[in-house]
Symmetry: C2
Subunit: 292 residues, 2 copies
């Protein structure tokens, strides 16, 4: 799993570096990711915040359009931008749809034999990338990790955070999301993905990959969760996101506004214009816990 | 020249609106532009800062990747993002090269008959777009304009600012540029563009379209000019930018560091990661003059 540097760009006094490597989790395919290292990482290991991007995106969208690098530089936090799926598996039909297959890995480990050799973004993000960073000797303090994401990546961030919490591993200190797919077993995007990737389909997903189901089980654990969504978001209006279901489950479980904060942002949509507006705020939210 | 709204995205409490219209300056072709209106434009006309993008770009690059919207929102300044050339003229060969023709209009008015019907980005940016904004009743105060840009757009910003100053029109209060093509009659990009677009070729360009030539003539006029370039910029290293020539001409003409500030930024390259790092600083520079 030797890392190869693809490019490096100085940004906000730090470096945004693109790497590639042969990913075991993704069946030996080449995987790209971006890593932002703030200037202070020259002197000491820094905490790391992973950003999971949405449908059709790559490792570049968040780095280029999220407005995260400046605030992360000020806070002294590294940012990790994984890709959104394996690329080049050659599975029949995997490039036919924009919301399934390539660009749409849904941050799960596939159990359907057609996809399970390659589509293991859960392992890629939670285990393989941290291992690769550590092996390469990069100045990252893996005891201080948080995670956030957008849309499908918001689903990924919430489910990876909550499932790690429930398992007792507690890999991430905090989670936030922009317009997350918050109850995917109840929306068309999630149902399509789970039916395709998982042998047990939606039933299998309910146990592991639905943030609304997971938060209902987490009632005794302290959590740090921030969600923003826009009222002009067409996917919200179409019922693909369902943040209100997540909020209700969180409140029913006993979480208050300090532990689970879900904010409706008037007039904002699903785009990176929305994300970049609140990006700085999300970085500061995570910094509270990463630097505690 | 009726304006048609293509899309609108709320961003930083304001609106980023994409418009299209049939552009007389561009021979009747459809032209797109983005306009960011800060929230305070609901109550009063706001100053406007025009951003000219570089080779291969469209009206979207600066809006999506520049990091300008947040600072402009705080300052209460509108941002105008024109395209970089006419599109759809159908002139033979206009899409063959990335540094000439489509995506590479160089912010001039072509005099070569092959291009002069369509390639009039100077008129499009300086006269037509302000006219279109005013005609549409948009809340823009055209007595308070400034301009900035990147690479080819830095060339455009400097030359439009200086030629307007020298003509006595003084359309823009201040100019700034990221990695501008600052002496285009002396570099390959400029020589190719001028030889193609201008009947009088490089000689014609020297009079009108070369910032280093123009600053040498401006010695009695007060100016407000800020330029940043990166020492790791490959186009700088290849001699395409030549900011040192512009700086020398400015100093020879008698401008001091307050009037003409050229900053060498250690380790930065030609990308939007560089631009976004200093974007906020450039917005604040212009706000000093736009809000004076």
């Amino acid at each position: 799993m030797a890392l190869e540097q693809v490019s490096s760009n100085k940004a906000f006094d730090g470096q945004l570096i693109k790497y590639k490597f042969k990913s075991a989790a993704l069946g030996g395919l080449t995987a790209n990711f971006n890593l932002f290292l703030p200037a202070n990482s020259a002197n000491a290991k820094v905490p790391i915040l992973t950003y999971l991007s949405g449908l059709t995106c790559t490792e570049d969208n968040g780095a280029q359009k999220g407005g995260f690098l400046g605030p992360a530089s000020k806070e002294g936090i590294a940012l990790l931008f994984p890709d959104t799926s394996p690329r080049g598996a050659g599975i029949e039909g995997e490039t036919d749809d924009w919301d399934f297959g390539v660009g749409a890995g849904f941050y799960l480990n596939a159990t359907n034999p057609q996809y399970s050799q390659y589509y293991n973004m859960l392992t890629h993000v939670t285990l393989e990338l941290p291992e690769v960073l550590a092996t390469a000797g990069l100045p990252i303090d893996l005891t201080r990790q948080s995670i956030f994401g957008h849309s499908m990546g918001g689903h990924g961030a919430l489910t990876l955070y909550l499932s790690s919490l429930l398992s007792g591993v507690k890999q991430y200190r905090s989670v936030s999301a922009f317009a997350p797919i918050a109850n995917p077993t109840k929306c068309a995007w999630g149902q399509k993905a789970f039916s395709g990737y998982l042998q047990g389909g939606i039933e299998e997903a309910r146990e592991r990959y639905d943030a609304t189901e997971l938060i209902a089980k987490a009632g005794k654990e302290p959590v740090h969760i921030l969600i923003d969504y826009g009222t002009a978001d067409n996917f919200y209006k179409q019922g693909q996101l369902l943040p209100e279901n997540f909020l209700k489950a969180a409140r029913d479980t006993g979480y208050d506004e300090v532990q689970v904060r879900v904010r409706s942002q008037e007039g904002y949509d699903h785009s990176y214009y929305f994300i970049s507006t609140f990006g700085e705020d999300h970085i500061h939210f995570h910094a509270n816990f990463l630097k505690a």
